[in-house]
Amino acid sequence: MTMPSHATSPHPQTLCAENVSVTYPGLHDSEPVVALQNVNLTIEPGEFVVALGASGCGKTTLLSLLAGFLSPTQGRIMLAGEPIVGPGADRGVVFQKHALLPWLNVLDNTEFGLKLQGVPRSQRRIRATQNLELVGLQDFHQHMIYQLSGGMQQRVGIARALTCDPAMLLMDEPMAALDALTRETIQELLLHIWQRTRKMFFFITHSVEEALFLGSRLIVMSPRPGRITHTFALDFNRRYLQEGNGRRIKSSPEFIDMREQVLSIIYGDERAAGPAGELHA
Protein backbone atom coordinates (compact mmCIF):
# COMPACT_ATOMS: atom_id res chain seq x y z
CA MET A 1 0.00 0.00 0.00
CA THR A 2 2.83 2.38 0.58
CA MET A 3 3.30 4.25 -2.62
CA PRO A 4 6.80 5.32 -3.58
CA SER A 5 6.89 9.01 -4.29
CA HIS A 6 7.80 9.98 -7.82
CA ALA A 7 7.65 13.67 -7.26
CA THR A 8 10.06 14.35 -10.08
CA SER A 9 8.21 12.59 -12.91
CA PRO A 10 5.46 14.64 -14.59
CA HIS A 11 2.61 12.20 -13.92
CA PRO A 12 3.61 10.16 -10.90
CA GLN A 13 0.34 8.23 -10.69
CA THR A 14 -0.06 7.15 -14.32
CA LEU A 15 -1.63 3.77 -14.93
CA CYS A 16 -0.12 1.89 -17.81
CA ALA A 17 -1.23 -1.44 -19.31
CA GLU A 18 1.31 -2.70 -21.83
CA ASN A 19 0.42 -5.34 -24.38
CA VAL A 20 -1.86 -7.15 -21.97
CA SER A 21 -3.51 -10.43 -22.91
CA VAL A 22 -5.72 -12.72 -20.87
CA THR A 23 -6.57 -16.25 -21.92
CA TYR A 24 -9.03 -18.32 -19.93
CA PRO A 25 -8.51 -22.08 -20.12
CA GLY A 26 -11.27 -23.73 -22.12
CA LEU A 27 -13.77 -25.89 -20.28
CA HIS A 28 -14.01 -29.60 -21.14
CA ASP A 29 -11.27 -29.69 -23.79
CA SER A 30 -12.77 -26.77 -25.69
CA GLU A 31 -10.56 -24.06 -27.12
CA PRO A 32 -9.08 -21.58 -24.65
CA VAL A 33 -10.98 -18.30 -24.63
CA VAL A 34 -8.99 -15.16 -25.39
CA ALA A 35 -10.71 -12.59 -23.20
CA LEU A 36 -8.24 -9.80 -23.95
CA GLN A 37 -5.68 -9.53 -26.68
CA ASN A 38 -2.80 -7.06 -26.80
CA VAL A 39 -4.48 -4.29 -24.89
CA ASN A 40 -2.53 -1.10 -24.44
CA LEU A 41 -4.00 1.54 -22.21
CA THR A 42 -2.57 4.53 -20.41
CA ILE A 43 -4.62 6.49 -17.93
CA GLU A 44 -3.23 9.83 -16.80
CA PRO A 45 -4.18 11.43 -13.51
CA GLY A 46 -7.44 13.33 -13.81
CA GLU A 47 -8.66 11.29 -16.76
CA PHE A 48 -12.12 9.76 -16.89
CA VAL A 49 -11.81 6.69 -19.10
CA VAL A 50 -14.97 4.82 -20.07
CA ALA A 51 -14.89 1.33 -21.54
CA LEU A 52 -17.82 0.44 -23.76
CA GLY A 53 -18.56 -2.67 -25.72
CA ALA A 54 -20.86 -5.56 -26.44
CA SER A 55 -21.18 -8.40 -23.95
CA GLY A 56 -18.10 -10.58 -23.78
CA CYS A 57 -15.70 -7.93 -25.07
CA GLY A 58 -13.50 -8.19 -22.00
CA LYS A 59 -14.51 -4.96 -20.22
CA THR A 60 -14.89 -6.65 -16.87
CA THR A 61 -11.71 -8.68 -17.42
CA LEU A 62 -9.87 -5.40 -17.98
CA LEU A 63 -11.30 -3.94 -14.79
CA SER A 64 -10.35 -7.05 -12.84
CA LEU A 65 -6.80 -6.67 -14.11
CA LEU A 66 -6.63 -3.04 -13.02
CA ALA A 67 -8.14 -3.90 -9.64
CA GLY A 68 -5.65 -6.71 -9.20
CA PHE A 69 -8.21 -9.51 -8.91
CA LEU A 70 -6.72 -11.12 -12.02
CA SER A 71 -3.20 -11.27 -13.38
CA PRO A 72 -2.58 -11.05 -17.12
CA THR A 73 -1.45 -14.05 -19.14
CA GLN A 74 0.90 -11.74 -21.00
CA GLY A 75 2.00 -8.16 -20.64
CA ARG A 76 2.13 -6.02 -17.56
CA ILE A 77 0.19 -3.35 -15.77
CA MET A 78 1.93 -0.61 -13.86
CA LEU A 79 0.52 2.00 -11.52
CA ALA A 80 2.88 4.82 -10.58
CA GLY A 81 5.80 2.81 -11.87
CA GLU A 82 4.98 -0.23 -9.76
CA PRO A 83 3.52 -3.43 -11.18
CA ILE A 84 0.03 -4.31 -9.95
CA VAL A 85 0.32 -7.61 -8.09
CA GLY A 86 -3.01 -7.68 -6.28
CA PRO A 87 -5.86 -5.56 -5.01
CA GLY A 88 -4.91 -2.59 -2.88
CA ALA A 89 -6.24 0.55 -1.28
CA ASP A 90 -4.73 2.69 -4.05
CA ARG A 91 -7.47 1.45 -6.40
CA GLY A 92 -11.05 1.75 -5.17
CA VAL A 93 -13.72 -0.42 -6.76
CA VAL A 94 -17.44 0.28 -7.12
CA PHE A 95 -19.45 -2.77 -8.10
CA GLN A 96 -22.59 -3.28 -10.12
CA LYS A 97 -24.35 -4.70 -7.08
CA HIS A 98 -23.45 -2.46 -4.20
CA ALA A 99 -21.42 -5.08 -2.23
CA LEU A 100 -21.92 -3.13 0.99
CA LEU A 101 -21.97 -4.88 4.36
CA PRO A 102 -25.56 -5.15 5.59
CA TRP A 103 -24.57 -5.50 9.26
CA LEU A 104 -23.01 -2.04 9.28
CA ASN A 105 -24.80 1.29 9.00
CA VAL A 106 -23.98 3.83 6.32
CA LEU A 107 -21.23 5.56 8.29
CA ASP A 108 -19.56 2.31 9.40
CA ASN A 109 -19.69 1.00 5.83
CA THR A 110 -18.06 4.16 4.58
CA GLU A 111 -15.20 4.03 7.07
CA PHE A 112 -14.78 0.26 6.79
CA GLY A 113 -11.69 0.48 4.57
CA LEU A 114 -9.93 2.83 6.96
CA LYS A 115 -10.83 0.49 9.81
CA LEU A 116 -9.14 -2.37 7.94
CA GLN A 117 -6.09 -0.15 7.53
CA GLY A 118 -5.98 0.59 11.26
CA VAL A 119 -6.77 4.31 11.00
CA PRO A 120 -7.92 5.70 14.38
CA ARG A 121 -11.65 6.06 14.83
CA SER A 122 -11.78 9.86 15.09
CA GLN A 123 -9.87 10.24 11.84
CA ARG A 124 -12.03 7.62 10.13
CA ARG A 125 -15.13 9.50 11.17
CA ILE A 126 -13.90 12.77 9.68
CA ARG A 127 -12.96 11.32 6.32
CA ALA A 128 -16.08 9.15 6.05
CA THR A 129 -18.28 12.12 6.95
CA GLN A 130 -16.64 14.26 4.27
CA ASN A 131 -17.20 11.67 1.61
CA LEU A 132 -20.78 10.99 2.62
CA GLU A 133 -21.36 14.70 2.27
CA LEU A 134 -19.74 14.58 -1.16
CA VAL A 135 -22.29 12.00 -2.33
CA GLY A 136 -25.17 13.81 -0.63
CA LEU A 137 -25.82 11.33 2.18
CA GLN A 138 -24.88 13.51 5.16
CA ASP A 139 -28.30 12.91 6.72
CA PHE A 140 -28.17 9.12 6.49
CA HIS A 141 -25.20 8.17 8.70
CA GLN A 142 -27.19 5.89 10.97
CA HIS A 143 -29.33 4.23 8.31
CA MET A 144 -28.88 0.56 7.60
CA ILE A 145 -28.06 -0.43 4.04
CA TYR A 146 -31.35 -2.25 3.50
CA GLN A 147 -33.25 0.92 4.37
CA LEU A 148 -31.75 2.76 1.39
CA SER A 149 -32.86 2.85 -2.23
CA GLY A 150 -30.64 1.32 -4.91
CA GLY A 151 -29.30 4.73 -5.90
CA MET A 152 -28.42 5.63 -2.33
CA GLN A 153 -26.71 2.27 -1.88
CA GLN A 154 -24.51 3.02 -4.86
CA ARG A 155 -23.72 6.44 -3.41
CA VAL A 156 -22.54 4.72 -0.24
CA GLY A 157 -20.45 2.40 -2.42
CA ILE A 158 -18.84 5.43 -4.08
CA ALA A 159 -18.27 7.19 -0.74
CA ARG A 160 -16.75 4.02 0.70
CA ALA A 161 -14.30 3.71 -2.19
CA LEU A 162 -13.38 7.41 -1.99
CA THR A 163 -12.79 7.32 1.75
CA CYS A 164 -9.69 5.18 1.23
CA ASP A 165 -8.40 8.05 -0.93
CA PRO A 166 -7.37 5.81 -3.84
CA ALA A 167 -5.38 7.07 -6.81
CA MET A 168 -8.01 5.65 -9.10
CA LEU A 169 -11.63 4.63 -8.94
CA LEU A 170 -12.72 1.55 -10.88
CA MET A 171 -16.42 1.23 -11.59
CA ASP A 172 -18.02 -1.89 -13.03
CA GLU A 173 -21.39 -0.84 -14.43
CA PRO A 174 -22.37 0.77 -11.13
CA MET A 175 -25.60 2.17 -12.53
CA ALA A 176 -26.78 -0.78 -14.58
CA ALA A 177 -29.38 -1.75 -11.96
CA LEU A 178 -30.70 1.77 -11.37
CA ASP A 179 -33.75 3.39 -12.88
CA ALA A 180 -33.23 6.00 -15.60
CA LEU A 181 -33.83 9.06 -13.39
CA THR A 182 -31.54 7.93 -10.59
CA ARG A 183 -28.98 7.00 -13.16
CA GLU A 184 -28.84 10.53 -14.58
CA THR A 185 -28.59 12.03 -11.11
CA ILE A 186 -25.68 9.79 -10.19
CA GLN A 187 -23.95 10.36 -13.52
CA GLU A 188 -23.94 14.08 -12.78
CA LEU A 189 -22.88 13.46 -9.19
CA LEU A 190 -20.01 11.34 -10.44
CA LEU A 191 -18.78 14.12 -12.70
CA HIS A 192 -18.81 16.58 -9.82
CA ILE A 193 -16.86 14.12 -7.69
CA TRP A 194 -14.42 13.60 -10.53
CA GLN A 195 -13.93 17.36 -10.84
CA ARG A 196 -13.44 17.77 -7.10
CA THR A 197 -11.08 14.85 -6.53
CA ARG A 198 -9.12 14.86 -9.82
CA LYS A 199 -8.66 11.11 -9.48
CA MET A 200 -8.34 8.65 -12.35
CA PHE A 201 -11.74 7.18 -13.10
CA PHE A 202 -12.19 3.95 -15.04
CA PHE A 203 -15.80 3.23 -15.79
CA ILE A 204 -17.46 0.31 -17.55
CA THR A 205 -20.87 0.60 -19.10
CA HIS A 206 -23.25 -0.90 -21.63
CA SER A 207 -24.90 2.42 -22.26
CA VAL A 208 -23.51 4.52 -25.10
CA GLU A 209 -25.18 7.66 -23.78
CA GLU A 210 -23.69 7.17 -20.33
CA ALA A 211 -20.26 6.52 -21.80
CA LEU A 212 -20.30 9.65 -23.96
CA PHE A 213 -21.61 11.83 -21.16
CA LEU A 214 -19.14 10.69 -18.51
CA GLY A 215 -15.88 10.00 -20.29
CA SER A 216 -13.02 12.28 -21.15
CA ARG A 217 -11.85 9.34 -23.17
CA LEU A 218 -13.93 6.50 -24.56
CA ILE A 219 -12.47 3.15 -25.44
CA VAL A 220 -14.70 0.91 -27.51
CA MET A 221 -13.98 -2.76 -27.08
CA SER A 222 -14.89 -5.63 -29.35
CA PRO A 223 -15.35 -9.32 -28.53
CA ARG A 224 -13.65 -12.50 -29.77
CA PRO A 225 -10.93 -11.78 -28.93
CA GLY A 226 -11.52 -8.88 -26.55
CA ARG A 227 -9.57 -5.83 -27.67
CA ILE A 228 -9.73 -2.09 -27.90
CA THR A 229 -10.86 -1.17 -31.41
CA HIS A 230 -11.58 2.56 -31.16
CA THR A 231 -10.61 5.39 -28.91
CA PHE A 232 -12.40 8.74 -28.79
CA ALA A 233 -11.47 11.90 -26.93
CA LEU A 234 -14.60 13.47 -25.48
CA ASP A 235 -15.45 16.73 -23.79
CA PHE A 236 -19.16 16.40 -23.03
CA ASN A 237 -18.31 15.94 -19.37
CA ARG A 238 -16.39 19.23 -19.23
CA ARG A 239 -19.21 20.96 -21.01
CA TYR A 240 -21.61 19.62 -18.44
CA LEU A 241 -19.42 20.81 -15.60
CA GLN A 242 -19.33 24.28 -17.17
CA GLU A 243 -22.92 24.57 -18.32
CA GLY A 244 -24.66 22.38 -15.76
CA ASN A 245 -27.45 21.08 -17.98
CA GLY A 246 -27.01 17.40 -18.66
CA ARG A 247 -30.17 16.90 -20.71
CA ARG A 248 -29.30 19.72 -23.09
CA ILE A 249 -25.88 18.22 -23.73
CA LYS A 250 -27.33 14.77 -24.29
CA SER A 251 -29.78 16.16 -26.84
CA SER A 252 -27.25 18.35 -28.65
CA PRO A 253 -26.51 17.47 -32.30
CA GLU A 254 -22.84 16.71 -31.60
CA PHE A 255 -23.79 14.28 -28.85
CA ILE A 256 -26.34 12.53 -31.05
CA ASP A 257 -23.91 12.30 -33.98
CA MET A 258 -21.32 10.79 -31.71
CA ARG A 259 -23.84 8.40 -30.24
CA GLU A 260 -24.88 7.09 -33.67
CA GLN A 261 -21.26 6.72 -34.70
CA VAL A 262 -20.44 4.65 -31.63
CA LEU A 263 -23.66 2.65 -31.87
CA SER A 264 -22.90 1.66 -35.46
CA ILE A 265 -19.49 0.38 -34.36
CA ILE A 266 -21.02 -1.69 -31.58
CA TYR A 267 -23.84 -3.07 -33.70
CA GLY A 268 -21.26 -4.01 -36.33
CA ASP A 269 -19.41 -5.99 -33.68
CA GLU A 270 -22.55 -7.74 -32.50
CA ARG A 271 -23.48 -8.73 -36.03
CA ALA A 272 -19.98 -10.01 -36.68
CA ALA A 273 -20.05 -12.05 -33.49
CA GLY A 274 -23.29 -13.68 -34.62
CA PRO A 275 -25.86 -15.32 -32.39
CA ALA A 276 -23.13 -16.93 -30.31
CA GLY A 277 -22.18 -13.46 -29.13
CA GLU A 278 -25.28 -13.43 -27.00
CA LEU A 279 -24.05 -16.35 -24.96
CA HIS A 280 -21.65 -14.09 -23.12
CA ALA A 281 -24.36 -12.09 -21.41
Binding site: A89, K97, A99, L100, L101, W103, L116, A161
Partner: protein, 277 residues
Protein backbone atom coordinates in the same frame (compact mmCIF):
# COMPACT_ATOMS: atom_id res chain seq x y z
CA UNK B 1 -66.88 -28.64 -14.86
CA UNK B 2 -67.04 -28.58 -11.03
CA UNK B 3 -65.23 -25.84 -9.12
CA UNK B 4 -61.99 -27.02 -7.59
CA UNK B 5 -61.58 -27.01 -3.84
CA UNK B 6 -60.89 -23.51 -2.50
CA UNK B 7 -57.78 -24.80 -0.69
CA UNK B 8 -56.05 -25.38 -4.01
CA UNK B 9 -57.39 -22.38 -5.83
CA UNK B 10 -56.47 -18.89 -4.74
CA UNK B 11 -59.04 -16.17 -4.57
CA UNK B 12 -57.92 -12.79 -5.92
CA UNK B 13 -55.83 -11.06 -3.27
CA UNK B 14 -57.18 -8.19 -1.21
CA UNK B 15 -55.10 -4.98 -1.24
CA UNK B 16 -51.91 -5.37 0.79
CA UNK B 17 -51.65 -9.08 0.05
CA UNK B 18 -49.83 -10.85 -2.75
CA UNK B 19 -51.77 -13.14 -5.06
CA UNK B 20 -50.65 -16.76 -4.85
CA UNK B 21 -47.93 -16.20 -2.21
CA UNK B 22 -47.53 -19.63 -0.55
CA UNK B 23 -48.45 -19.80 3.11
CA UNK B 24 -48.99 -16.06 3.52
CA UNK B 25 -50.64 -14.66 6.65
CA UNK B 26 -50.34 -15.06 10.39
CA UNK B 27 -50.68 -18.48 11.98
CA UNK B 28 -49.99 -17.71 15.67
CA UNK B 29 -53.63 -17.62 16.75
CA UNK B 30 -54.28 -20.92 14.94
CA UNK B 31 -51.39 -22.48 16.88
CA UNK B 32 -52.89 -21.20 20.13
CA UNK B 33 -56.21 -22.81 19.27
CA UNK B 34 -54.45 -26.09 18.40
CA UNK B 35 -52.65 -26.09 21.75
CA UNK B 36 -55.86 -25.32 23.65
CA UNK B 37 -57.73 -28.09 21.82
CA UNK B 38 -54.98 -30.64 22.56
CA UNK B 39 -54.88 -29.77 26.24
CA UNK B 40 -58.67 -29.78 26.34
CA UNK B 41 -58.70 -33.26 24.81
CA UNK B 42 -56.23 -34.35 27.47
CA UNK B 43 -58.57 -33.10 30.21
CA UNK B 44 -61.54 -34.69 28.49
CA UNK B 45 -60.22 -38.21 27.96
CA UNK B 46 -58.74 -38.43 31.47
CA UNK B 47 -61.69 -36.96 33.35
CA UNK B 48 -64.13 -39.16 31.43
CA UNK B 49 -62.05 -42.18 32.33
CA UNK B 50 -61.61 -43.23 28.70
CA UNK B 51 -57.91 -43.91 29.25
CA UNK B 52 -56.38 -45.56 32.31
CA UNK B 53 -54.18 -43.23 34.42
CA UNK B 54 -51.27 -45.66 33.88
CA UNK B 55 -51.28 -44.80 30.17
CA UNK B 56 -52.27 -41.17 30.42
CA UNK B 57 -52.48 -39.54 33.83
CA UNK B 58 -54.71 -36.51 34.14
CA UNK B 59 -53.28 -32.98 33.86
CA UNK B 60 -54.15 -32.45 37.53
CA UNK B 61 -52.11 -35.53 38.51
CA UNK B 62 -49.14 -34.35 36.45
CA UNK B 63 -49.36 -30.91 38.04
CA UNK B 64 -49.55 -32.45 41.50
CA UNK B 65 -46.47 -34.49 40.65
CA UNK B 66 -44.75 -31.31 39.53
CA UNK B 67 -45.48 -29.61 42.88
CA UNK B 68 -44.36 -32.67 44.78
CA UNK B 69 -41.14 -32.86 42.76
CA UNK B 70 -40.47 -29.20 43.45
CA UNK B 71 -40.88 -29.54 47.22
CA UNK B 72 -40.16 -33.15 48.22
CA UNK B 73 -38.18 -34.24 45.19
CA UNK B 74 -38.37 -37.31 43.03
CA UNK B 75 -35.73 -40.02 42.50
CA UNK B 76 -33.53 -38.57 45.21
CA UNK B 77 -33.39 -34.92 44.13
CA UNK B 78 -35.74 -32.00 43.79
CA UNK B 79 -36.90 -30.98 40.36
CA UNK B 80 -34.70 -27.89 40.51
CA UNK B 81 -31.63 -30.05 41.16
CA UNK B 82 -32.55 -32.33 38.27
CA UNK B 83 -33.06 -29.34 36.02
CA UNK B 84 -29.78 -27.70 37.05
CA UNK B 85 -27.87 -30.93 36.38
CA UNK B 86 -29.40 -31.27 32.91
CA UNK B 87 -29.12 -27.60 32.01
CA UNK B 88 -25.44 -27.67 32.98
CA UNK B 89 -24.84 -30.63 30.68
CA UNK B 90 -26.81 -29.28 27.73
CA UNK B 91 -25.49 -25.74 27.95
CA UNK B 92 -21.95 -26.87 28.75
CA UNK B 93 -22.02 -28.99 25.60
CA UNK B 94 -23.68 -26.18 23.66
CA UNK B 95 -21.06 -23.69 24.75
CA UNK B 96 -18.21 -26.05 23.84
CA UNK B 97 -19.82 -26.67 20.47
CA UNK B 98 -20.17 -22.93 19.84
CA UNK B 99 -16.50 -22.23 20.46
CA UNK B 100 -15.28 -25.20 18.41
CA UNK B 101 -17.88 -26.02 15.72
CA UNK B 102 -18.27 -22.45 14.46
CA UNK B 103 -14.51 -21.89 13.87
CA UNK B 104 -14.19 -25.37 12.33
CA UNK B 105 -17.17 -24.74 10.05
CA UNK B 106 -15.84 -21.34 8.96
CA UNK B 107 -12.43 -22.87 8.37
CA UNK B 108 -14.02 -25.62 6.27
CA UNK B 109 -15.75 -22.95 4.26
CA UNK B 110 -12.65 -20.88 3.55
CA UNK B 111 -9.91 -23.50 3.30
CA UNK B 112 -9.92 -26.61 1.15
CA UNK B 113 -7.45 -28.46 3.38
CA UNK B 114 -9.62 -27.93 6.43
CA UNK B 115 -12.64 -29.01 4.39
CA UNK B 116 -10.82 -32.11 3.19
CA UNK B 117 -9.72 -33.02 6.70
CA UNK B 118 -12.93 -32.40 8.65
CA UNK B 119 -15.49 -33.44 6.07
CA UNK B 120 -15.12 -37.26 6.26
CA UNK B 121 -15.29 -37.64 10.07
CA UNK B 122 -18.15 -35.18 10.45
CA UNK B 123 -20.19 -36.60 7.61
CA UNK B 124 -19.55 -40.14 8.86
CA UNK B 125 -20.63 -39.73 12.46
CA UNK B 126 -23.32 -37.11 11.87
CA UNK B 127 -26.14 -39.51 10.88
CA UNK B 128 -25.29 -42.04 13.63
CA UNK B 129 -27.74 -42.12 16.53
CA UNK B 130 -25.95 -41.02 19.74
CA UNK B 131 -27.20 -44.21 21.41
CA UNK B 132 -25.05 -46.18 18.96
CA UNK B 133 -21.80 -44.59 20.06
CA UNK B 134 -22.83 -44.07 23.70
CA UNK B 135 -21.24 -47.42 24.76
CA UNK B 136 -17.97 -46.40 23.13
CA UNK B 137 -18.01 -43.02 24.84
CA UNK B 138 -18.53 -44.79 28.17
CA UNK B 139 -15.75 -47.30 27.51
CA UNK B 140 -13.37 -44.50 26.58
CA UNK B 141 -14.28 -41.81 29.06
CA UNK B 142 -15.96 -43.66 31.93
CA UNK B 143 -19.13 -42.65 33.69
CA UNK B 144 -18.30 -39.23 35.07
CA UNK B 145 -19.76 -35.94 34.01
CA UNK B 146 -17.43 -35.54 31.03
CA UNK B 147 -18.76 -38.38 28.82
CA UNK B 148 -22.32 -37.12 29.33
CA UNK B 149 -21.39 -33.64 28.17
CA UNK B 150 -19.23 -35.10 25.41
CA UNK B 151 -22.09 -37.16 24.00
CA UNK B 152 -24.33 -34.10 23.81
CA UNK B 153 -21.42 -32.07 22.43
CA UNK B 154 -20.89 -34.55 19.60
CA UNK B 155 -24.55 -34.37 18.68
CA UNK B 156 -24.48 -30.56 18.60
CA UNK B 157 -21.12 -30.19 16.88
CA UNK B 158 -22.01 -31.59 13.45
CA UNK B 159 -25.07 -29.49 12.64
CA UNK B 160 -23.39 -26.34 13.92
CA UNK B 161 -20.21 -26.92 11.92
CA UNK B 162 -22.21 -27.67 8.77
CA UNK B 163 -24.31 -24.56 9.24
CA UNK B 164 -21.23 -22.35 9.72
CA UNK B 165 -19.62 -23.88 6.65
CA UNK B 166 -22.76 -23.23 4.61
CA UNK B 167 -22.87 -19.70 6.00
CA UNK B 168 -19.56 -18.88 4.36
CA UNK B 169 -21.38 -19.16 1.05
CA UNK B 170 -23.68 -16.27 1.98
CA UNK B 171 -20.90 -13.79 1.41
CA UNK B 172 -20.83 -12.37 -2.09
CA UNK B 173 -17.58 -12.33 -4.00
CA UNK B 174 -18.05 -8.58 -4.50
CA UNK B 175 -18.08 -8.03 -0.73
CA UNK B 176 -14.80 -9.91 -0.47
CA UNK B 177 -13.29 -8.08 -3.44
CA UNK B 178 -14.38 -4.76 -1.98
CA UNK B 179 -12.65 -5.53 1.31
CA UNK B 180 -9.42 -6.49 -0.44
CA UNK B 181 -9.61 -3.38 -2.61
CA UNK B 182 -9.74 -1.30 0.57
CA UNK B 183 -6.52 -2.78 1.87
CA UNK B 184 -7.92 -5.73 3.84
CA UNK B 185 -5.77 -8.74 4.71
CA UNK B 186 -7.08 -12.31 4.33
CA UNK B 187 -7.52 -12.58 8.11
CA UNK B 188 -9.48 -9.32 8.20
CA UNK B 189 -11.66 -10.49 5.34
CA UNK B 190 -12.51 -13.67 7.25
CA UNK B 191 -13.18 -11.89 10.56
CA UNK B 192 -14.91 -8.75 9.33
CA UNK B 193 -16.68 -9.96 6.21
CA UNK B 194 -17.09 -13.73 5.94
CA UNK B 195 -17.83 -14.43 9.60
CA UNK B 196 -20.39 -11.61 9.76
CA UNK B 197 -22.03 -12.69 6.52
CA UNK B 198 -22.27 -16.23 7.89
CA UNK B 199 -24.02 -15.09 11.11
CA UNK B 200 -27.58 -15.82 9.95
CA UNK B 201 -26.65 -19.41 9.08
CA UNK B 202 -24.65 -19.72 12.29
CA UNK B 203 -27.72 -18.72 14.29
CA UNK B 204 -29.78 -21.30 12.43
CA UNK B 205 -27.10 -23.85 13.26
CA UNK B 206 -27.24 -22.84 16.92
CA UNK B 207 -30.99 -23.37 16.98
CA UNK B 208 -30.72 -26.76 15.32
CA UNK B 209 -27.76 -27.65 17.56
CA UNK B 210 -29.42 -26.86 20.85
CA UNK B 211 -32.49 -28.79 19.70
CA UNK B 212 -30.35 -31.83 18.97
CA UNK B 213 -28.69 -31.32 22.36
CA UNK B 214 -32.01 -31.63 24.17
CA UNK B 215 -32.93 -34.76 22.22
CA UNK B 216 -29.60 -36.32 23.22
CA UNK B 217 -30.04 -35.45 26.90
CA UNK B 218 -31.98 -38.59 27.82
CA UNK B 219 -29.40 -40.79 26.09
CA UNK B 220 -26.60 -39.03 27.92
CA UNK B 221 -28.28 -39.60 31.28
CA UNK B 222 -29.04 -43.27 30.62
CA UNK B 223 -25.91 -44.60 32.22
CA UNK B 224 -24.62 -43.86 35.69
CA UNK B 225 -26.53 -40.67 36.32
CA UNK B 226 -28.20 -39.99 39.64
CA UNK B 227 -29.58 -36.62 38.73
CA UNK B 228 -31.02 -34.90 35.68
CA UNK B 229 -34.31 -34.55 33.88
CA UNK B 230 -33.49 -37.40 31.50
CA UNK B 231 -32.51 -39.61 34.39
CA UNK B 232 -35.68 -38.66 36.23
CA UNK B 233 -37.83 -39.69 33.26
CA UNK B 234 -35.98 -42.97 32.71
CA UNK B 235 -36.11 -43.78 36.38
CA UNK B 236 -39.84 -43.09 36.55
CA UNK B 237 -40.41 -45.31 33.50
CA UNK B 238 -38.99 -48.25 35.40
CA UNK B 239 -41.70 -47.80 38.02
CA UNK B 240 -44.38 -47.09 35.43
CA UNK B 241 -44.80 -43.64 37.02
CA UNK B 242 -46.24 -42.09 33.91
CA UNK B 243 -47.18 -38.88 35.73
CA UNK B 244 -43.48 -38.23 36.41
CA UNK B 245 -42.59 -39.20 32.84
CA UNK B 246 -45.03 -36.72 31.36
CA UNK B 247 -44.04 -34.05 33.88
CA UNK B 248 -40.38 -34.52 32.91
CA UNK B 249 -41.18 -34.37 29.21
CA UNK B 250 -43.14 -31.16 29.67
CA UNK B 251 -40.33 -29.58 31.71
CA UNK B 252 -37.72 -30.49 29.08
CA UNK B 253 -40.03 -29.20 26.34
CA UNK B 254 -40.58 -25.91 28.14
CA UNK B 255 -36.85 -25.35 28.67
CA UNK B 256 -36.10 -26.19 25.04
CA UNK B 257 -38.85 -23.95 23.74
CA UNK B 258 -37.89 -21.07 26.04
CA UNK B 259 -34.29 -21.24 24.93
CA UNK B 260 -35.31 -21.35 21.29
CA UNK B 261 -37.38 -18.22 21.81
CA UNK B 262 -34.36 -16.59 23.44
CA UNK B 263 -32.10 -17.47 20.50
CA UNK B 264 -34.71 -16.20 18.04
CA UNK B 265 -34.87 -12.94 20.01
CA UNK B 266 -31.08 -12.63 20.02
CA UNK B 267 -31.11 -13.41 16.31
CA UNK B 268 -33.39 -10.47 15.64
CA UNK B 269 -31.12 -8.22 17.69
CA UNK B 270 -27.87 -9.47 16.19
CA UNK B 271 -28.86 -9.79 12.54
CA UNK B 272 -31.62 -7.34 11.77
CA UNK B 273 -30.62 -7.47 8.11
CA UNK B 274 -31.55 -11.15 7.76
CA UNK B 275 -33.71 -11.74 4.70
CA UNK B 276 -33.69 -8.06 3.77
CA UNK B 277 -30.73 -7.74 1.48
Amino acid sequence: MPRRASLLRSKPATPGKVYGAPGAGHSGHISLITSAVLIGLWFLVTSMGWVKPLFLPSPQAVYAKFLAAMSDGVAGSTLVEHAVASLTRVFGAFFLACVTAIPVGILMGVNRYARGIFDPPIEFYRPLPPLAYLPLVIIWFGIDEFPKIFLIYLAIFAPMAIAARAGVRSVSIEQIHAAYAMGGTPTQVILHVILKAALPEIFTGMRIGIGVGWTTLVAAEMVAADRGLGFMVLNAAQFLASDTVIMGIVVIGIFAFAFDLLVRYLERLAIPWKGRI
